[in-house]
Amino acid sequence: MKKALLLVVAFLFFAAAFGAGKKYEPAPDFTLRDVNGNEVTLHDLLKHGPVYLECWDLPCVNCIAELDALLPVYDSLKDRGLQIVALSVDKPADENRVRAFVRAKKWPYIVLLDQQQRVKKAYNIIIKPTAYLINMNGEIVYTHIGYKKGDEKRIAEEMVKWLPPRDSVPPEQPPQEK
């Protein structure tokens, strides 16, 4: 165990010694199942447009309020390629509740099940809601932590910055929730 720990520490120091900053950080790629059983991969989604990835779960009232508040934003920007991915970090035992809840809410978003919290961990999420705007180059260009009513205006401003220009060829249509 001590050897393995030393290896981890050495790995961290190696990075510290040779690291160099970049303007934006790369978004970790992932593949997860959505609530309809389809496999969804981040790098496939990014071919269609930028992704707003929000971490939520059923007890998180502010997360649900944010996803509700983003509905008109999504409606106005989806044709330009915006995709909203609601990353559910509910436990495996709550999968059926999540599915029923999403259907009742009629969210048009891509709802992914991160039951083992692998993506939550890869993105270092500790506060819910936390959301990342990922541009088409796979870089995290904006982070939004927490939610208060009205935040959606600021989020929409950030989203617009990273959408393809209006006169460009529209991206291929992203997969839609059924």
């Binding site: 165990m1 981890v8 040779f18 690291g19 950080e25 389809n38 270092n124 932590i145």
Partner: protein, 486 residues
């Protein structure tokens, strides 16, 4: 900006090395005796191409006045992983749950401060037909925050050996199957043959708006102390349907001697149908159902109704009954209203309480104007309680009001003033206290750091998450929390 990577190293191969982390530092000062509590939870990870490494530190240092209550906890965890596209191999700490948790369940719950981790070797391989096989071998550690202190719930059993295998397959999109096996070799078992095995399986069918699923598990174990084989069984059935924005979910559970071991921690965690997460004994002897109907009707009105019941096999009067109705409506972009009514009956659930019935209407009102946000939350609980100790009467009726007002200024600040009370004294649950005023401010320093200051009192009480419950001791004093993304 971004997820908080400390460093990014580009390589000639186009891969990059990323180091990132989260640190949660907390300092508590108790008003009563000026004792303190310092806690730091650091999670660091590094990723390069298909390799990753993790380092976790939990440093808990209370300053209580005697060694019996001053129980520091210092944990250092690591993991090394290799994750090419179809494979994941991990050495060190890992979390995984098989199926819905009837055979094996582990995970980290930061909100509830419950960290049930496995330590050993983990492998997962993706196969054709959307199938996946998982193999693991390790030891379990259950760290739980209870009565304002961290405890390793399985302190005497952390050397127990857990071996597991899980196979899931989804050959067609609307049909999936799973099968699993877990073997636990406990140090307390009297002979080498006295191990415990859990077998499980599940199936799932999605046809149009209808989803149906079933999971079962069978436990073959050893009777504690005396030896001899002991069996347990459990299953959970789910059915849900959704149409035109309305959905109905029905669940039925039946567990008998499945939760293992029947003490303060479990290797498995069979789900509870109770929405608020209450369970009776976490799969040792439980039977019940849950029904949830929800929908969004025109004008954006969201409504939800839940009804769930859980009881033990030999006494259907003991257990939990919960009913809840909730509605939420936004008016324009400025106003949001939420109304909720919760009814709960708990019989023989809490230590010292034979029966407790609560009726709890609540209202939440949110108003936004410019950069200013105002939130009002109010709740009144009507409680009828039959205590097991009748020194202060055998039938208590009292009220539990709650009110809180928040003001948010832009993205940076949030201020909250709140009060909770109870109009009955001599309640052991609340240390005989009756009033809990609190002031809290949250300052978003920047995208990487959030500071939270809370001064006043917290009521505590019996709380649950996903079937795991604990008694939270009341608190008076100051709490300072800094969450940093590294």
């Amino acid at each position: 900006m971004g997820i908080g990577s400390l460093l990014v190293l580009s390589s000639v191969f186009g891969a990059s090395l990323t180091i990132q982390g989260v640190n949660r530092a907390e300092f508590w000062a108790y008003q009563q005796d000026w004792a303190t509590h310092y806690e730091d939870k650091l999670e660091l990870s590094a990723r390069y191409s298909d390799f990753d490494a993790e380092l976790g530190v939990l440093w808990f240092e209370p300053s209580k006045h005697g060694p019996s209550v001053r129980k520091p906890l210092h944990l250092l965890d690591y993991a090394i992983g290799y994750n090419p596209e179809e494979l994941e191999v991990r050495l060190g700490r890992f979390y995984t749950t098989f199926g819905q948790g009837l055979t094996l369940s582990s995970g980290a719950d930061d909100d509830f401060r419950h960290y049930k981790s496995l330590h050993g070797l983990f492998g997962r391989l993706k196969l054709p037909l959307s199938s996946e096989v998982t193999l693991l071998g390790g030891r379990l550690r259950d760290v739980f925050f209870q009565e304002n202190t961290y405890k390793i719930m399985n302190e005497l059993d952390t050397t127990d050996q857990v071996l597991g295998a899980d196979l899931t397959i989804r050959p067609i999109q609307f049909f999936g199957l799973g099968t699993r096996y877990v073997r636990i070799n406990r140090e307390v078992d009297p002979t080498a043959r006295a191990f415990t095995e859990l077998f499980g399986g599940d199936c799932r069918l999605d046809i149009g708006p209808v989803s149906a699923g079933a999971e079962f598990a069978w436990r073959l174990g050893t009777k504690p102390g005396i030896g001899g084989r002991e069996t347990g069984t459990g299953y959970i059935l789910n059915l849900s349907t959704a149409l035109a924005g309305f959905s109905i979910l029905a669940q039925y559970v039946n567990y008998l001697r499945l939760g293992f071991p029947p003490g303060t921690y479990h290797y498995n965690d069979p789900p509870t149908p109770i929405k608020s997460g209450v369970s009776i004994n976490r799969g040792v002897d439980e039977q019940g159902f849950g029904v949830q109907a929800s929908g969004t009707i025109p004008n954006g009105l969201y409504i939800e109704a839940d009804l769930a019941r859980l009881f033990v096999h030999d006494d259907t009067s003991a257990g939990v009954l919960e009913g809840e109705f909730k509605t939420r409506q936004s008016l324009g972009t400025n106003w949001t209203f939420e109304l909720k009514f919760n009814h709960m009956l708990q019989k023989n659930i809490e230590l010292g309480t034979y029966e407790r019935i609560t009726d709890r209407p609540a209202i939440l009102l949110n108003y936004l104007t410019g950069p200013h946000t105002f939130t009002l939350e109010a709740e009144l609980g009507w409680v009828t309680e039959l205590p097991t100790d009748t020194t202060h009467g055998s039938n208590w009726r009292y009220h539990e009001p709650l009110i809180s007002v928040s003001y948010g200024l832009g993205e940076k600040w949030l201020f909250t003033i709140g009060w909770q009370g109870v109009d009955k004294d001599s309640l052991k649950r609340y240390d005989n206290q009756t009033s809990w005023p609190v002031f809290e401010t949250v300052y978003n320093i920047n995208e990487r750091n959030v500071l939270r200051l809370r001064i006043g009192a917290e009521k505590g009480g019996y709380t649950c998450s996903g079937g795991v419950c604990r008694y939270e001791a009341p608190f008076r004093g100051m709490k300072l929390q800094l969450i940093s993304r590294i």
